[in-house]
């Protein structure tokens, strides 16, 4: 247990920052009048509304107890790196090898036997190739062009 509801304090700060971003960047666009709204009208108005909502979420959270926030950093990092690496190597290595590498990265948070990991990677690569290349006729190369 925490003395403050950290979750809603962070939630409120996050919402307020997003609101402030839209409200302030929105002033770069023409505001216009109510009868002839410019592109800046809605973003600025809604941005400030969002800012106020964030404050409303945050204030009461200071006065109540909260629970710890459990973050699975390893899951987040593995999924993220897997996607980014996949995007990076897709056109260089082709779908098959890229899938194997992406699956190996994504499965890192889980402890398992090396052979099992390889088997999962290869089977997913085969299924992916069948669905996207053979089934949906996607225009990406299956293997690296030599």
């Amino acid at each position: 247990m925490l003395n403050r509801d950290l979750r809603d304090i962070l939630a409120g700060i996050f919402v307020s920052i997003v609101g402030l971003f839209f409200a302030l960047v929105g002033t770069n666009y023409n505001f216009g009048t109510a009868s002839r709204m410019g592109p800046g009208y809605m973003p600025v108005v809604l941005g400030w509304i969002l800012f106020v909502l964030g404050v409303l979420i945050m204030i009461p959270a200071f006065f109540r107890k909260g629970e710890r926030i459990e973050v699975h950093w390893d899951s987040l990092a593995a999924s993220l790196v897997s996607l980014i690496v996949f995007a990076f190597i897709l056109n260089i290595l082709g779908v098959f090898l890229s899938t194997i590498i992406a699956v190996l990265i994504a499965s890192m948070p889980k402890r398992m036997h090396f052979g099992v990991r390889g088997a999962i990677a290869i089977s997913i690569a085969v299924i992916t190739s069948l669905i996207f290349i053979a089934g949906l006729e996607m225009s990406v190369s299956l293997f690296p062009a030599l």
């Binding site: 979750r7 919402v15 709204m37 592109p39 979420i57 973050v71 699975h72 996607l83 996949f86 699956v103």
Partner: protein, 500 residues
């Protein structure tokens, strides 16, 4: 008779082999994701979205809808066999379904939920057929002021009727509307919030947004979720035959569940999940044997399963007749239509009769397919539950990446998905529901457009919204809902303790 002609037209469209195939594919996949805990209909529909670019709009919506109502059928399987809901709408089925399985009645429970699902879906479907054209007729008379008020009501309802904190839901809706403004403004041509990234000129890609918030974020959360493979008993066809008294107790429960589910499903913001919970609560109140609830009462599974399937059908009423999506799944489906250049709204039924009636008839066909899929082949679905999530989630990530890439053949979209996945996970950690955000994102541009038009007509006088009776009524309801939100917020704030 007009209705008969329309249904005949729908039958012609729906019996086309391509449409039949996509209908089957949709309900098949829907059952699969419904059965599997951890993957919901939303994630599955987001994953299929890129495919719809290469399909006719009718085929696309038939398939996506199939996933949605198919998932309602499959959801009860894991609830009954593992005490783990396959989706949020079948969480309540655990309460009595799992005790039934413990007593060796898993087969009967699965049979009854399938029949209850069919029953609820058919009642919802009949109401959809009867009411949608009439509601669309009314909607055709709406001007920009009414459309604006109705959309705002839909957005506020979606945010405050959910299960979480209403004020956080409201924040999500507003954030969604703001995200919908990223890109080129249709009226002035100004590029808003693009930060000089050319890919953002067309706005944030719907596919990337849906996949990031629902696909990637669900994966990140699920990796360390429950993964112990439970012992699941075998279900044979013979074990599925219920006794006469079990069926007799189920029929009235199904009827009540369907009626409640149909009514709730058509309201914005109230989806199958809430319908199922309320149906269970009512059933427990009216039952002659309330002490049996929680220990394996058949009414405890038949009522909520009818309710969530009825709600899944009537949820299409506001989406198709007025263009107002009631939940995130509906929003994605309307988004798929917009991608094909079809503007959802009251004129949809008149302008695209083949699509509307074809879709409706495909619901009938799809529901029959689902019963055939769920009863004789139940063994296949049960064995699906034995696949650990460890084997599935890397595949989901690869499918997400390739799927979003296939839309524009652009790497930027994969990076975008990764970023939005982090945002989606952040939402989960901070207990924000992402569904209202998606709703705001889809409706946002339409809200802005109608607000501008209405105020242009009235020369900037905002009284146009209260002078017109329909608009005034809708806004009054909205204000009441907002008042309720504030009341709940104050009540919650005054308590010192955190309520999870």
């Amino acid at each position: 008779m007009e209705l008969f002609d329309n249904l005949l037209l729908g039958l012609q469209v729906a019996s086309d082999p391509t449409i039949l195939w996509y209908c089957f594919f949709g309900v098949f996949l829907g059952t699969a994701v419904g059965v599997l805990p951890g993957i919901g209909a939303l994630a599955a529909i987001s994953l299929l979205l890129p495919m719809t670019y290469h399909m006719s709009p009718t085929a696309a919506i038939v398939m996506l809808a199939g996933v949605y109502y198919g998932a309602q059928y499959g959801g009860s399987t894991a609830s009954i066999l593992m005490n783990l809901p396959g989706g949020p709408a079948s969480a309540v089925t655990c309460l009595d379904g799992y005790p039934m399985a413990r007593k060796g009645k898993a087969g009967i429970a699965l049979f009854i939920t399938t029949i209850a699902s069919l029953f609820g879906a058919m009642i919802g479907l009949i109401l959809l057929v009867l009411f949608s054209p009439a509601i669309a007729e009314v909607g055709l008379k709406f001007g920009p002021a009414e459309l604006f008020s109705m959309m705002v009501m839909g957005l506020v309802a979606a945010s405050s009727m959910g299960t979480g904190s209403p004020i956080k839901g409201l924040a999500m809706v507003v954030m969604g509307v703001l995200l919908g403004m990223v890109g080129t403004d249709v009226n002035s041509g100004a590029a808003r919030f693009t930060m000089d990234i050319p890919e953002l000129m067309d706005g944030i890609n719907l596919v990337a947004l849906a996949m990031g918030l629902f696909g990637v974020a669900e994966v990140v959360r699920g990796i360390h979720g429950q993964d112990e493979t439970q012992k699941i008993e075998k279900v044979t066809l013979r074990s599925m035959v219920p006794t006469k008294s079990e069926m007799n107790r189920s029929y009235p429960a199904m009827l009540r569940g369907s009626a409640l589910g149909s009514a709730l499903g058509a309201l914005p913001g109230v989806g199958p999940s809430i319908a199922a919970f309320m149906a269970y609560a009512i059933e427990k109140k009216v039952a002659k044997n309330p002490e049996e609830f929680g220990k394996g009462a058949v009414q405890g599974i038949s009522a909520p399963e009818s309710a969530n399937n009825a709600a899944a059908q009537t949820a299409f009423v506001p989406s198709l007749s007025l263009g107002i999506p009631g939940d995130a799944v509906m929003a994605i489906m309307l988004g798929a239509l917009i991608i094909h250049g079809i503007q959802p709204g009251p004129m949809l039924i008149n302008e695209q009769p083949e699509m509307f009636w074809g879709l409706v008839v495909s619901f009938f066909i799809g529901n029959i397919m689902l019963v055939l899929l769920n009863i004789p082949t139940i063994g296949i679905w049960v064995s699906l539950l034995r696949i650990p999530f460890t084997w599935l989630y890397p595949a989901i990530l690869v499918f997400v990446a390739l799927g979003v890439y296939s839309v524009n053949n652009n790497h930027f979209d994969i990076y975008m998905v990764a970023v939005l996945g982090v945002v989606g996970y952040l939402f989960m950690l901070l207990r924000f529901e992402a569904a209202p955000l998606l709703l705001g994102y889809i409706l946002g541009p339409m809200v802005e457009e109608n607000l501008r038009r209405a105020l242009l007509l009235s020369r900037g006088d905002p009284s146009i919204f209260v002078d017109r009776p329909i608009s005034a009524t809708l806004l009054a309801i909205t204000v009441m809902m907002l008042g309720w939100t504030m009341f709940k917020f104050l009540q919650r704030s005054l308590r010192r303790r955190h309520i999870p």
